[in-house]
């Protein structure tokens, strides 16, 4: 704690930047766990809440204010909905059956007004903070193009870290109360803990109230097995982040910033490396967050399920950033596709177009809504909107072509379960994902198109020189270390894909299972310390998804 004491004594506020921050790993996590273990059972929940708010404060002071406003407002909206629902039940109980629909409708409208305010407050804040600059910039562009000179001032707001994540989590709570999936929480501290729990507040996973609120409030005791698994997962996540993602960071940034001087092959390599970096960074941070939670006996929802084994883009998005995908599915896709007008459309279209293409019209409109929101959620820029539309088109095409692919496979006698057929599908999906990530990472949409075009017009690796590697802060040894680590992670993924759990395997020996597990931890920790990209020559890399 001397680091904290020193900085407080010298009038400086200590600052954390991420889970992989040196201070966080060496001081904060062990202190947090030790105090959690020592804390009396009844006080653990309050300790978790205080620790979560302290973490948010050390990351970004403004975040605490947004979290407090979100918590207090959602608590109030929840109680209001609860009151309206109780009034509706009482009213329905004394109403004749024929009039029930009208009574119900009256109360549903009132509840929808409450929901509208909750959405306006949360999405409105997000829109103002994240998108005002984007809108004003585009208005200025239009003014300039039409010959005007009176440009508007582009505002630059300080966007609190994690706001895109905890806003969706808060909205899911109030929407679930409205839908009757969960009861409104009458304990503001429980709701506060659900929204602020620190292992998930920066980058998710975006939990549902029913998944984690009670678990957190009941704050289980630490047990040996969950502690061991948790520590293993934290170190595994840190290896992904520090050994691979952070090592590639400077080189990837150089390729995307200086692409104009590079050939297509190097740009393609940059897109592949960026995809690896993003996956290792995001899933690594998830492993750390889920690992910390597991230590204290909390099970957060998984956010990744080996996405690069997906055979289609649609499947990829069911396995990548799962909690965001399910959020969009439950609160946008199904409500849009099963709205009254869409249901009528589906019924009539099915009669004319059949079972496959009939529901596709309503499905496409809902899918479009999901992907425009997905693109905008990632950021306010044309390349993010393009990223969303790119995946919308790919998923739509995939759906349109299903009957044709089935027919061709039947005619050519191709078995879709054949290993090489599935391998080709996986490789195709990976290629499409990498192209999407190129546009996602590009510094603007036009730069993305230039980079993509260069892959076809100037494909060579002549600019991939030793000088470029030096400027990118990387050498051949770095590639070897990252490559070997990736192979290790890939091997674990293959086993998991075959339903062989590596962690379960370690518990098999009747005697010495714990020794085996801690030996694995020791080896992984040594590997991390020796091969981690930290210290001299490496800058700490902030979790990439926290910026969204």
């Amino acid at each position: 704690m001397h680091w904290l004491a020193y900085q407080l004594l010298h009038g400086e506020l200590p600052q954390l930047s991420s889970f992989t921050n040196f201070h966080f790993v060496v001081y904060a996590i062990p202190c947090f766990i030790l105090l959690y273990v020592l804390m009396p059972k009844k006080l653990k929940r309050y300790y978790l809440l205080i620790a979560s708010y302290a973490f948010c404060f050390l990351i970004n002071g403004a975040m605490v204010i947004y979290l407090l406003v979100s918590t207090v407002s959602m608590f109030g909206f929840g109680l209001l909905l609860d009151k309206l629902q109780t009034q509706m039940k009482d009213a329905l109980a004394v109403t004749e059956k024929e009039q029930r629909k009208a009574v119900k409708k009256k109360f549903v409208i009132k509840q929808r007004v409450v929901i509208l305010f909750a959405i306006l407050l949360h999405i409105g804040t997000l829109v103002v903070l994240k998108y005002t600059g984007f809108f004003v910039t585009n208005i200025n562009r239009a003014i300039t193009m039409s010959g005007g000179t009176n440009l508007l001032t582009v505002p630059h707001f300080l966007i609190p870290i994690g706001i895109s994540f905890f806003s969706l989590q808060a909205l899911s709570y109030i929407l679930d109360v409205y839908r009757g999936i969960t009861k409104a929480d009458r304990n503001i501290l429980r709701l506060a803990l659900f929204l602020a729990f620190f292992p998930q507040v920066i980058e998710g996973p975006i939990s549902r109230y029913n998944q984690t609120a009670d678990q957190l409030w009941n704050s289980p005791q630490v047990n040996t097995q969950s502690f061991t698994f948790g520590v293993q997962r934290i170190i595994f996540g840190m290896i992904k982040k520090i050994v691979i993602a952070d090592r590639l960071n400077s080189f990837v940034a150089l390729i995307f910033n200086d692409y104009a001087m590079l050939d297509g092959g190097t740009i393609a390599l940059g897109a592949i490396l960026y995809t690896i970096q993003l996956y290792m960074d995001f899933s690594g941070i998830m492993d750390i967050g889920l690992g910390i939670s597991e230590i204290v006996g909390i099970k957060l929802p998984e956010n990744f399920e080996r996405p690069f084994f997906s055979k289609t883009i649609s499947e990829f998005w069911k396995r990548w950033h799962i909690t965001l995908g399910t959020w969009f599915r439950d609160y946008i896709f199904y409500p849009v596709s099963t709205s009254t007008s869409m249901k009528k459309l589906t019924s009539s279209a099915r009669k004319k177009l059949g079972n496959h293409y009939g529901p596709l019209i309503a499905g496409s409109i809902a899918l479009f809504s999901v992907w425009i929101c997905n693109g905008l959620w990632h950021g306010a820029d044309w390349n993010f909107i393009f990223f969303g539309m790119y995946h919308f088109v790919l998923i739509l095409l995939g759906n349109i072509l299903v009957p044709l692919v089935r027919l061709v496979n039947k005619k050519l006698n191709i078995n879709p379960e054949n290993f090489f057929y599935k391998l080709m599908q996986i490789l195709r999906t990976c290629l499409l994902v990498v192209i999407g990530e190129l546009f996602f990472r590009a510094n603007g949409l036009m730069n993305g198109f230039h980079m993509f075009g260069r892959i076809f017009t100037d494909f060579s690796f002549s600019s991939l020189t030793s000088d470029l590697l030096v400027r990118g802060g990387i050498d051949y040894l770095d590639f070897i270390i990252a490559g070997i680590t990736l192979i290790g992670i890939f091997a674990v993924s293959v086993l998991n894909e075959k339903k062989i759990s590596v962690r379960e395997l370690q518990t098999k020996p009747v005697k010495g299972a714990l020794v085996l597990q801690w030996s694995v931890i020791f080896i992984l920790a040594i590997f991390l310390l020796v091969f981690g990209a930290y210290g001299v020559g490496y800058a700490e890399v902030y979790p990439m998804y926290a910026e969204f």
Binding site: I181, R329, P335, T338, R350, N355, G363
Partner: protein, 75 residues
């Protein structure tokens, strides 16, 4: 139940709905089939299926769907 099985057979005839219990979790019914199914169930059983009911537990088997339909008919 027969009416429900008829609707399901019409949407995807390749599934044995009398025994299958993982229609959603096993990815046997995709989102497009669910969209069709909801529209058809509402017409056939004179019910409204709110978005909150569109969860795997209500669509994993014909039995679960029937239970949901009966519950919504009582509302």
């Amino acid at each position: 139940m027969d009416k429900l099985l008829e609707i399901l057979q019409d949407i995807n005839p390749d599934i044995d709905y009398t025994t299958c219990e993982d229609l959603i979790d096993g990815h046997r019914l995709e989102s497009l089939s669910i969209i069709s199914l909801i529209a058809e169930l509402e017409d056939a059983f004179d019910i409204t299926i709110p978005a909150a009911e569109i969860i795997p537990a209500n669509f994993n088997s014909a039995k679960a769907m029937m239970a949901m339909i009966e519950r919504l008919q009582e509302d």
